[in-house]
């Protein structure tokens, strides 16, 4: 069962229960407008019907703006929940550019079909999701929160002062 254990590493199972950042309220998730410097995105995985809504706010001006907060509401498999939780931990205090680069890096690892290994220095706990790349049907699970974050970030930046 080594394939399985590389997919479900202990840290993934832990995050899937801890769900850092999974604190967005239903009410907030249903809002259709939000403050300047904030972005929100809803993502659906059509294969399973799982969903996530992620809200993200940025602070500061064009050059040095940073992630001020990230929260999400969602339900899904352990991979998707762990991934959202890990992303929350990572995003804290990153600059906008750093987060954007991180999302790109994460995507590259996940799409590599197992040829790239995530760097724990960069990706933190999310490096443990590298094993998902060998399970094409689950890549979407791991990406769900990150795709939502990418879009929310774009919105937040575009409305930030």
């Amino acid at each position: 069962m080594s394939g399985l254990e590389s997919l479900y590493q202990q840290t993934i199972l832990e995050h899937s229960k801890a769900r850092h950042g999974g604190t967005l309220s239903e009410v907030a998730a249903c809002e259709t407008a939000w403050p300047e410097g904030t972005g929100q995105c809803h993502q659906l995985n059509p294969v399973c019907g799982d969903e996530i809504t992620l809200r993200l706010a940025v602070d500061g001006g064009a050059g040095d703006s940073r992630v001020a907060s990230l929260e999400w509401l969602g339900n899904g498999c352990s991979i998707s929940m762990a991934s959202a939780s890990m992303l929350t931990d990572l995003a804290e205090d990153l600059t906008v550019d750093e987060l954007a680069r991180l999302i790109e890096e994460f995507r590259a690892v996940l799409r590599s079909r197992g040829t790239l290994e995530g760097d724990p220095e960069e990706l933190g706990d999310a490096a443990a999701l590298s094993g998902v790349a060998k399970f094409p049907a689950r890549v979407k699970c791991a990406m769900l929160a990150w795709v939502a974050a990418e879009d929310a970030l774009r919105q937040a930046v575009s409305t930030a002062a």
């Binding site: 069962m1 394939g3 399985l4 997919l7 479900y8 199972l13 229960k17 294969v47 399973c48 019907g49 799982d50 339900n75 899904g76 498999c77 352990s78 991979i79 399970f135 689950r138 699970c141």
Partner: protein, 431 residues
């Protein structure tokens, strides 16, 4: 339905013999013997089906119905013999079987035929199928999306209203509600014979009675019944029925629509083109009677022939015996699962007759994780909403795990599956 054997359940020895006919079942997955419990999605194929198709391509391949040459004549005979076999399989007459790409295509054919009878300049003989804003289409809450979305779209196009028969907590249709929902405005009642999630076998005669009383047409989704139990469309007295080849040991790319002949001949065509016309001018076209009317263009010839080989395989084994065998497997799965902690079973409780498919929720573990865990042990089950989102929502779920058996499934496989499920919560650290 030709039954060649005693109608008692297939026994272990026979099942083992049957397994030898299926090349894929000997396959290793993740280094383990495959335990294939996903026949509800698609079934495996016996050698005779693969050979029928191969033989066609190597000896008869050519365009049917249109060629004057010998090869074309042979292909046409094989193609029409296949239709006769599949007709016999469900108790229909040859002219009452229309080839389709799959069951979904059969249901869409009907929904578009009704809208073609309702929209634009409609020929007189087709007007009896017209539906409009004063009419209702009735489905059920347990339908596969294939028997729901096409009717939603028909309603969108015509202004008809869609109503549905709800599902009880026990996973059966609410028949009191059915009697209220089916009324004088009902033009079509479309429902599944066997639920692909609950395993429930619906009371066809009762529902047909309700529909007949108000003059509604009855469409039966026989996707999960044709492969697994003796199906006689005449005895069931339905107007239309659909099923798919790939769920009954046949190939992908083929399905069939049964329609009562007088209805099929009056129904407007849907897909138009070659081989379904009489006279074509640049301005207008005349159409052949059924089944050709609904078979435009080059047909899935080799697939029809292979589907007929599958039907023959099933008839020779005996549908009564397969059904009886699956009843045994169903109870074994249900009872085994019921003993495990944290498992919520959907559908009729043990003891009630049902299909050999069981969908369940594992408390604290997402269905896709359950499936992944079982897969690592070579056990192939299906996870997700099984194309029945409204039904899952009805039970407060988004996804379940489903194990589905067939004539080649052994008790050992069921036991391996049960043992696998028993390990799930431990692995994911759920108490």
């Amino acid at each position: 339905m030709a039954e060649s054997r005693d109608p008692s359940a297939l026994d272990r020895t026979e099942v083992l013999r049957i397994r030898n006919d299926f090349p894929l079942l000997a396959h290793l997955v993740n280094g383990k013997t495959l335990v294939y419990l996903d026949s509800g999605a698609t079934s495996q194929n016996p050698q005779s089906v693969l050979e029928a198709e191969q033989e066609f391509y190597e000896q008869r391949n050519s365009a049917v119905h249109r060629g004057a040459h010998t090869l074309a004549a042979h292909a046409t005979v094989a193609f029409e013999d296949a239709r006769a076999t599949v007709a016999q399989f469900v108790g229909a007459r040859e002219e009452e079987i229309v080839w389709t790409a799959n069951a979904t295509a059969g249901l869409n054919l009907l929904a578009y035929a009704f809208s073609n009878a309702s929209i634009g300049d409609v020929p007189a003989e087709s007007r009896r199928f017209a539906v409009g804003p004063c009419d209702e289409i009735v489905v059920t809450e347990m339908e596969h999306h294939a028997n729901l979305v096409p009717w939603q779209e028909l309603c969108r196009r015509t202004g008809a209203a869609l109503r549905y028969i709800p599902v009880t907590d026990a996973g059966t249709l609410d028949l009191d509600e059915a009697a209220r929902v089916i009324g004088p405005k009902t033009r079509v009642l479309a429902f599944t014979h066997v639920s692909n999630v609950l395993g429930t076998i619906n009371p066809v005669a009762h529902l047909v009675g309700l529909a007949r009383a108000v003059g509604a047409l009855v469409v039966l989704d026989a996707c999960q019944s044709a492969p697994h139990l003796p199906l006689d469309v005449k005895a069931l007295d339905v107007d239309f029925a659909v099923f798919s080849g790939h769920k009954m040991l046949g190939p992908t790319g083929i399905g069939a629509l049964y329609g009562r002949q007088e209805l099929l001949d009056a129904l407007p065509p849907v897909t138009t083109g070659g081989s379904m016309i009489t006279t074509v001018t640049m301005e207008r076209s005349g159409y052949l009677p059924a089944p050709q009317r609904f078979e435009a263009g080059t047909q899935p010839v080799s697939q029809a022939i292979a589907m007929a080989a599958a039907a023959r395989y099933l008839m020779e084994t005996g549908m009564e015996r397969i059904h009886a065998r699956e009843g045994v497997l169903a109870q074994r799965m249900l009872e085994g699962l019921r003993e495990l902690p944290g498992i919520r079973l959907l559908g009729p409780a043990p003891g009630v007759e049902r299909a050999a498919l069981v969908a369940f929720d594992v408390d604290g573990v997402h269905a896709h994780d359950v499936g992944q865990y079982l897969d690592a042990q070579g056990i192939a089950v299906r996870v997700g909403h099984h194309c029945a989102q409204p039904l899952h929502r009805r039970f407060g779920l988004t996804a379940t795990t489903r194990a589905s058996a067939y004539l080649y499934t052994t008790e050992d496989e069921v036991d391996a599956f049960l043992q696998g499920v028993a390990g799930v919560r431990g692995f994911f650290g759920v108490k």
